[in-house]
């Protein structure tokens, strides 16, 4: 603070008019060099250039070579799934509420026994993010109570139409990993959304696979899910009042 110019104002002697602030002359903060260094300074400037002749090039060959980003770069959003394939989004709209750019629109619906999309009673039936509005601030993923919404590192979000930049739910949903069973299907027997949230569900169970096999025999995820259901471990815990689960319910380290 001592270096800031004194801008205090003094009343002029005659009264009435206000005097101009006293301004101290400019003093450089750069330390003064010795006269020898001053004389060599023009040549030393070439030294920087010469040094860079021999250092590694930093030019990015972006679109031909992918540009690396930091692991926590805020890119396109993704709607995640539980390990058995059910969606994590419960349609609570807290992301839409948190969004300062009003880029997110969500509509929720009831989960029914015939169409169970996420654990619990509610799922997001409509999910849109408008990437023309999104500012990638990440408040939405902080607001998400089920960690359904996260951000990927994908930043190539440009397109020729406005409509194309409004991403729908199918554009945002995480692809089914190997062994996941495509929703809708029932929850792992004997679990509630709490067990899902705690990470105690580690994959689809035989009952879920059978249900899908009965409802949608041609589902492409069935084979992998059946292999996975056959190998997963027996349940470790179950809720107190529920019948003993037969599926892969185990506490997974998070």
């Amino acid at each position: 603070m001592a270096d800031t110019p004194d801008r205090s104002v003094e009343r002029s002697q005659g009264g009435g008019e206000v005097a101009a602030p006293r301004v101290r002359p400019y003093e450089s903060l750069i330390p003064k060099r010795s006269p020898v260094a001053d004389a060599l300074a023009p040549a030393a400037g070439f030294g920087v250039t010469l040094k860079n002749f021999f250092s590694r090039t930093v030019t990015e060959q972006y679109p031909f070579e992918a540009a690396p980003v930091k692991p926590r770069f805020h890119g396109r959003h993704q709607l995640n799934r539980y390990p058995d394939g059910l969606e994590k989004c419960i349609g609570c709209e807290l992301c839409a509420w948190a969004c300062p750019a009003d880029a997110i629109y969500v509509e929720a619906s009831d989960n029914t026994p015939e169409k169970q999309m996420s654990p619990g009673e509610r799922f997001g039936s409509v999910y849109q993010i408008n990437y023309l509005r999104c500012i990638f601030c990440g408040l939405c993923i902080e607001a998400c109570p089920t960690r359904a919404l996260t951000m990927t590192n994908e930043f190539e979000l440009a397109g020729p139409t406005r409509e194309g930049l409004i991403f729908e739910k199918q554009d945002l949903l995480a692809p089914l990993a190997e062994g996941m069973l495509a929703a809708p299907h029932p929850m792992v027997e004997g679990t509630t959304d709490t067990e899902y949230y705690r990470g105690e569900v580690t994959g689809p169970t035989a009952a879920q696979v059978d249900w899908v096999a009965e409802q949608r025999p041609d589902d492409p995820t069935l084979a992998a899910a059946r292999r996975r259901a056959g190998t997963t471990a027996a349940p470790a815990t179950a809720s107190a009042d529920a019948p003993a689960p037969t599926g892969p319910v185990g506490r997974e380290a998070r």
Binding site: W97, N111, E114, Q116, R122, M187, D241
Partner: protein
């Protein structure tokens, strides 16, 4: 606002607060205040702007002190006169202020603050952390007050108590017991306000819960019952993974919707209010559950369109879709309550059969109808104008606006008929009607302004319901009457063939009258056995409330006016439909011009003609609805202009259909495809109330304007009629709401000329009832098969089960045991319903007018008072249903 000099005391709207003789002076947080004796501390604090957290407290419910959230530190003078601290914090919602009391809220007292934090922590122990999926999240008093008056961190580490969820209390109301904080607002509302105690507290301690005493839910009788079975047999116990969806059992005959006979749970017409006043998300509406969050809804105030009470509502919508309606707050009208019909029945406005473009029908040369084709407005108006011009030349055009319109629309129909069509053949009454009713409306209703009000209802010492089922026909009226009854101020009497549950809950006295004999009973009041009632009606503030049902009884309305004159009681006419009173004011009747001016009065005609800037108005009184339809059927009238009329509502739907089919040219202004549009030559789409601004006039005569909620290109009726008049070469000047009011308001003020003379019609001799016959009695249930309740299966599931009611003697004579199917028939058709033997007038059978399976006017072509045949239903079902007496 105009600033005026201080008015003398008493005349201002808000007199200056001066200490009243019975005032109580005490301090809250060091602020001295004076309140009327009996004021609760929490209310006095509100008046000072001090917010004390609360859940169970509700200004319209009796104090309960159930949630303990409003604890405050209280110092009060003891017997020795010394101000001493009460040993424990007190609940301010049950504590009346006493002189010299010193109340310290959480703002000034660490003890009160600590107590409130403790209560909040205990309330939250078993409250689930499912705010993200809870419908209440975002508008939740528990959420808000946990933030303002609770700990920021939980100290609770154990497992929360959970319940299988949710329970369907009715098809419309779902209960999540684990969210409940046992504030008892819902049970107190049901008991104190609606009188339908269909849920109550059950069990004790940690398992205390709200419920219907279902054995399956409580696990008493149904201990071994499989959950799936319980869900399928209608008791609806859901386990954690079985959630509500489209498979919920619906329909008027759902087993959860029993009548009052068996003592089993029944649906309340006011159950939606419990959802609104629930301070947590324990009670939710099935139709709105998980549809939206409160923070992305846009709210627009509105006025309910389902009855003539003009209840204030709040329309919540998102992206052009109405998602829910809540009760608005209007202490003069509906306080904070609403009927379920007003609350839940709004999907009709966006039904799939909405008409979006004008439609024009081709007719063959011989008059046979072709298909309706979409057309542009310009084309359709041209075709309509041409057709109406020809029809006007061919005998005239009758106008049937229907009773559901706003006052602006009704005015436009009346003016269109008189100015453009040159006729008085305009009648908004799409229900049984009579000339006597026209005289009654002209004499006692039209142009009388704000008459009897809701406040008069709750203050009246005696109320006589003449042909009015308050609960079924005007739910808010019922609640106000019940408020007066519960407070011990009001005695209710009803002239009806039977005491409905609504009348029983009003603790009312039935003056039993078979349909057709109402004039006899009304004339007998004041003499003989009914001398006391006559005297009671003479007391100041006594009221006679007249329902639209009396229009079908010759002499009844004359008898009502005689009774009012004899006793001095004030008369109020309470029609069922929202637009009827407004239509009467706007002159959409064959004998009335706007503002109650009689058509027959030359001065009135000159008045209106001058205002409308026309040479003269038609002098002949017009035809009423029945006569218009009859004239259209026999070709006397060349065409019809029909508004929002459901053919099934008309006194004789079959004749109306024939008339519409026979008429040369029919123009229909409709929101949705209907039986009228199916026969119309030109269909012009109009906007439903949510897509337009307008005004209803409630039965009180209160003007209830409402704004447009949704953005829409649909046009209201008055604008369509203005365009149609333009196409006919007449400038009506009713294009915008402002133009309508500029045109109509000078006419709808007080008319100081001669009024229509009171009707004096002699009562008809009651028809002799032949053996095997009975007199038909009938009225509409609140929830029935009406078109304005379409698309709402959850609401339909709470409708009362349609039954036929007979007296024991009538049932015995007809050979119908209680519970068996009874067939009520005329030459036109028959209706078969389960019989319920009721204490009621003999030789009378009661049917719901328009419920599922009981379309009385359509099936029987009969109106109340007509003789019908009564007998056991043919076929084996009759004995299957038999229940031993």
């Amino acid at each position: 606002m105009t600033v005026t000099a201080a008015k003398p005391a008493g005349s201002g709207a808000t007199p200056p607060p001066e200490p009243k003789p019975d005032g109580v002076t005490f301090t809250i947080d060091g602020i001295e205040t004076t309140v009327p004796k009996g004021t609760l501390v929490i209310r006095a604090a509100e008046q000072l702007g001090i917010q004390i957290p609360r859940f169970c407290d509700h200004p319209l419910l009796a104090p309960a002190g159930a949630c303990r959230q409003c604890l405050v530190e209280v110092w009060a003078p003891g017997r020795d006169g010394k101000v001493a601290k009460m040993p424990k914090p007190q609940a301010s919602c049950t504590l009346t202020a006493t002189p010299g009391m010193d109340v310290r809220t959480q703002r000034t007292s660490a003890e009160a603050d600590k107590a409130q934090h403790g209560v909040m922590e205990l309330l939250l122990i078993n409250h689930p952390l499912d705010c993200p999926v809870c419908d209440k999240g975002g508008e939740c008093p528990l959420q808000n007050q946990a933030m303002s008056n609770g700990r920021s961190q939980t100290r609770f580490v154990d497992v929360k108590r959970t319940f299988p969820k949710p329970i369907a209390v009715s098809t419309e109301i779902l209960l999540d017991r684990e969210r409940c904080i046992l504030c008892q607002r819902c049970t107190r509302f049901s008991r104190e306000i609606a009188g339908d105690p269909f849920i109550d507290l059950q069990k004790r301690g940690a398992m205390q819960q709200i419920g219907r005493f279902d054995a399956d839910v409580l696990g008493f009788a149904g201990a071994g019952v499989d959950r799936e079975d319980a869900a399928s047999d209608g008791t609806l116990a859901f386990d954690d993974r079985v959630f509500l969806g489209a498979d919920i059992p619906v329909g008027p005959a759902a087993p959860t919707v029993d009548d009052d006979r068996s003592g089993s749970p029944f649906a309340s017409y006011f159950s939606g209010n419990t959802v609104q006043i629930c301070p947590v998300g324990a009670l939710t509406g099935a139709a709105y559950r998980f549809r939206a969050r409160p923070f992305d809804l846009v709210s627009t105030p509105g006025v309910a369109e389902h009855d003539s009470s003009g209840a204030a509502i709040r329309v919540d919508h998102r992206r052009g879709v109405v998602l829910r309606r809540l009760a608005g707050e209007d202490p003069e009208v509906n306080e904070e309550w609403l009927t379920d019909k007003d609350r839940f029945a709004f999907t009709w406005q966006s039904a799939a059969d909405r008409i979006t473009t004008p439609l024009v029908r081709d007719r063959a040369a011989d008059g046979t109808r072709g298909e309706l084709h979409p057309a542009s407005w310009a084309e359709a108006l041209e075709v309509a104008a041409h057709g109406l011009e020809q029809a006007r030349a061919a005998g005239g055009v009758g106008v049937l606006p229907g009773g559901r319109l706003t006052v602006e629309d009704a005015y436009a129909y009346g003016k269109f008929a008189r100015v453009v069509l040159g006729t008085n053949d305009v009648d908004l009454r799409a229900r049984p009607h009579s000339d006597e009713e026209l005289a009654f409306l002209g004499h006692a209703v039209a142009g009388t302004g704000l008459g009897v009000t809701f406040r008069d209802l709750e203050a009246a010492p005696t109320v006589l319901l003449a042909g009015l089922e308050a609960e079924e026909e005007a739910g808010v009226v019922f609640l106000r009457l019940r408020k007066g009854v519960v407070a011990g101020r009001t005695r209710v009497h009803a002239v009806a063939p039977l005491a409905s549950r609504g009348l029983e809950r009003l603790d009312g006295t039935l003056l039993r009258a078979a349909p057709g004999t109402e004039p006899e009973v009304l004339d007998a009041i004041g003499s003989g056995e009914l001398a006391d009632l006559g005297a009671a009606l003479g007391a100041a503030g006594a009221l006679v409330l007249v329902g639209e049902r009396l229009a079908a009884v010759p002499g009844a309305l004359s008898a009502v006016l005689r009774l009012a004159e004899r006793t001095g009681a004030r008369v109020a006419w309470i029609p069922r439909r929202a637009g009827e009173r407004g239509g009467v004011e706007a002159g959409a009747l064959p004998t009335l011009l706007p503002g109650g001016r009689p058509v027959a009065d030359a001065a009135a005609r000159v008045d209106v003609a001058a205002a409308w800037d026309v040479e003269h108005l038609p002098t002949e009184p017009g035809r009423d609805t029945a006569a218009i339809l009859a004239a259209a059927a026999d070709g006397t009238l060349g065409g019809l202009l029909v508004g929002g009329v459901d053919v099934r509502d008309l006194p004789d739907p079959a004749a109306a259909r024939a008339a519409l089919a026979a008429t040369g040219f029919v123009v229909s202004l409709e929101v949705r495809a209907s039986e009228v549009t199916a026969l119309a030559d030109v269909v012009l789409p109009v906007a439903p109330p949510v897509e337009r601004p307008g005004t209803f006039v409630s039965w009180e005569g209160r003007v209830r304007p409402f704004p447009q909620a949704l953005t829409s290109t649909a046009m209201p009726d008055h604008r369509v009629l203005d365009a149609l008049a333009d196409a006919l070469g007449v400038t009506l000047g009713l294009r915008t709401l402002a133009e309508v009011h500029a045109d109509a308001d000078p006419l709808t003020g007080e008319w100081d000329g001669a009024r229509v003379a009171a009707p004096d019609v002699a009562a008809a001799e009651p028809p002799a009832v032949a053996p095997g016959h009975a007199v038909l009695a009938s009225w509409h249930q609140l929830l029935d098969a009406g078109r304005l309740q379409d698309g709402e299966p959850f609401l339909a599931g709470t409708a009362k089960r349609p039954v036929a009611r007979l007296s024991p003697a009538t049932a015995a004579a007809a050979g119908v045991p209680d519970g068996a199917l009874v067939t009520v028939a005329t030459d036109a058709g028959s209706i078969t319903l389960p019989a319920v033997v009721t204490d009621m007038a003999d030789h009378v059978v009661w049917l719901p007018t328009a419920s599922a399976g009981s379309q009385v006017r359509d099936a029987l072509r009969a109106v109340p008072g007509d003789p019908v045949r009564v007998g056991p239903a043919a076929g084996p079902d009759a004995t299957d249903e038999e229940v031993p007496a």
